[in-house]
Symmetry: C2
């Protein structure tokens, strides 16, 4: 019988996690007090703002336990928080992990999850400094608060896009949505776990390094990650910046994988690109004169593509799609809504 949480208890689990992190996670010199007291504490760097974000994923709602390993799940939960720090132009520093777990969860699954967290944090020299463990009879959840830093006054916001700005996007939004659709609808017995689109759903990449480089370039006017889907998040930029947007449909980046999957699923590939999808790409706005500088900032450190897909307009909150024949159709930025969906 595999050892389960009920065998070792909350304090036993805390000791095990503490021990695992001591061995497998980086040590951060500015941390003055880690796991094991009423709070953790750290000394912030002079001249920096502290960034804080919080994202929760729930079994059945944000992930499908039968298709994802605990290690992948840990990576995924951390990636979506790292993505938020990167979209502000910052660097991750410290995480607090709050878990709701069933008492019959194997201890090794929880340890694998923490290895996933550490795998994503270690490259940044970031570490887990606290959290909470709760027994849950319902769906397990992973709630992470991630703390980062950015030079004072250098946050890149979603509220500062300017009329006439170019709209850029990293990578290929919609990959994650296509992966989820494959998992849900492809009935034939085939192992989808290693399909590139399923990997994009289970273990998406963040663009935090790219976001930081874009921010440091000084040429970005607004930035957001695509956690609510491309249209949903472009909608957030439009709402907060009181602007509109025009997208040129043929310019939207579509991977060959996504094109094939859309055909298999009988779906419009542009729908997959534009609508709800758990990708963590970046939408970037900048003056049309600075598109090359933004692209260079990214290509200097990674091979992630940056594609110009449209312009910011002065029609507040209206997003239009320009088709090849020149017609413009208004599209509604729905995004993923948790209580009506």
């Amino acid at each position: 019988m595999a050892e389960i949480l009920a065998d070792i208890g909350e304090f036993g689990l805390i000791d095990r996690i503490h021990e695992l992190l001591r061995k497998e996670s980086v040590q951060t010199p500015a941390l003055t007090l880690g796991i094991g007291d009423d709070t953790a504490s750290f000394l912030p760097h002079a001249g920096y703002e502290i960034l804080v974000t919080c994202d929760c994923i729930l079994e059945g709602r944000h992930y499908l336990p039968q298709h994802i390993t605990p290690l992948e799940l840990g990576r995924r939960a951390m990636v979506l928080n790292i993505s938020d720090i990167g979209a502000m132009g910052g660097t991750p520093l410290y995480a607090l992990v709050s878990l709701g777990l069933r008492a019959d969860t194997p201890v090794s699954d929880v340890e694998a999850m923490y290895r996933g967290f550490a795998a994503e944090l270690n490259p940044f020299g970031a570490s887990i400094i606290g959290g909470n463990l709760t027994k849950s009879e319902g769906n397990p959840f992973i709630d992470i608060t991630l703390i980062g830093e950015v030079e004072h006054g250098k946050t890149v916001r979603r509220s500062t896009a300017k009329v006439g700005d170019a709209i850029l996007v990293t990578g290929y939004p919609g990959q994650s949505a296509a992966g989820l659709q494959l998992l849900l609808h492809v009935k034939r017995m085939e192992d989808l776990h290693d399909h590139p689109l399923v990997r994009a759903y289970n273990t998406p990449s963040h663009r935090a390094r790219e976001g930081r480089a874009i921010a440091q370039s000084g040429y970005v006017t607004a930035m957001i990650d695509t956690s609510d889907g491309f249209l949903g998040d472009l909608g957030h930029i439009c709402k907060e910046s009181a602007v509109g947007a025009e997208l040129i449909r043929e310019k939207l980046p579509i991977s060959e994988d996504l094109r094939q999957a859309a055909q298999k699923l009988g779906q419009d590939p542009y729908d997959l690109v534009l609508k709800d999808s758990d990708d963590y790409e970046l939408i970037i706005t900048c003056s049309p004169d600075h598109v090359d500088q933004i692209c260079s900032a990214v290509s200097a450190l990674s091979d992630v593509s940056v594609t110009e897909v449209g312009r910011i307009t002065d029609v507040a909150r209206q997003i239009k799609l320009i088709l090849p024949n020149g017609t413009r159709s208004e599209i509604i930025p729905a995004g993923w809504d948790h209580f009506t969906a």
Copy 2:
């Protein structure tokens, strides 16, 4: 029909919460970016460490929805986090609130919860700067990350108690446990909601101001809040400080309410004081020469009692109870364990 979350959706709810907090919560000048972007950001004060804590409460497990109002629930969830910051000698600054809610939750209940959060944060000039909303089909949960600050090098830890130190405790631990027992076992129809012990369970007080004053006095050697029960948390001090403790049973503070409730419930009042109880009192250790200074630091700002109940000993992790006849019996600091309980 009362308006429910499914009627207004996630983004509608975010707008409502944002609006409520704009009107009813304090504004903090060091906050550079609040709710509404990928992250919040703030400028830390020079010369201060940042404190971070995270606590989650789950319906059915940590609170009984039929006995607590949403406003009380909000206050309670925030109090237990404020208590942790206070037990380090710090001051609360910013909260992130992550909620798992059923789609049929009345919007007014969520608003009342946020009023509860704000009611506890406002006196400190602290505010909610972010969070997360998730639809949960299972038990609703409230997961709060609270950020505070303390002068650099001035955290009061649980790992620094010294052999020979006096052990002090604020208020009356066990009140909350007694309140819960009344709710669970008193079958006669009577309105218990306003019973002092039930109030201690539903809306416990924190001792954050007292904790801060104790820390500022400079005389405390170790401190912890009693969120795992008096014995559980004294056990944490003993484990982390590699010391033991002797408690004089007759000195343990027992309120008249608790004595009466224990009689009604047929329980030993000392059991209620010592074992699992969701109070947020403070256990303090200091040199026996400094007990008066600690008491004065507290009495200068509140009428919360401080009682000396025993001594720190050199027998690592052993806690003994001294009875009136002089016999010493070893007691095991069980505390509330989430996966075995």
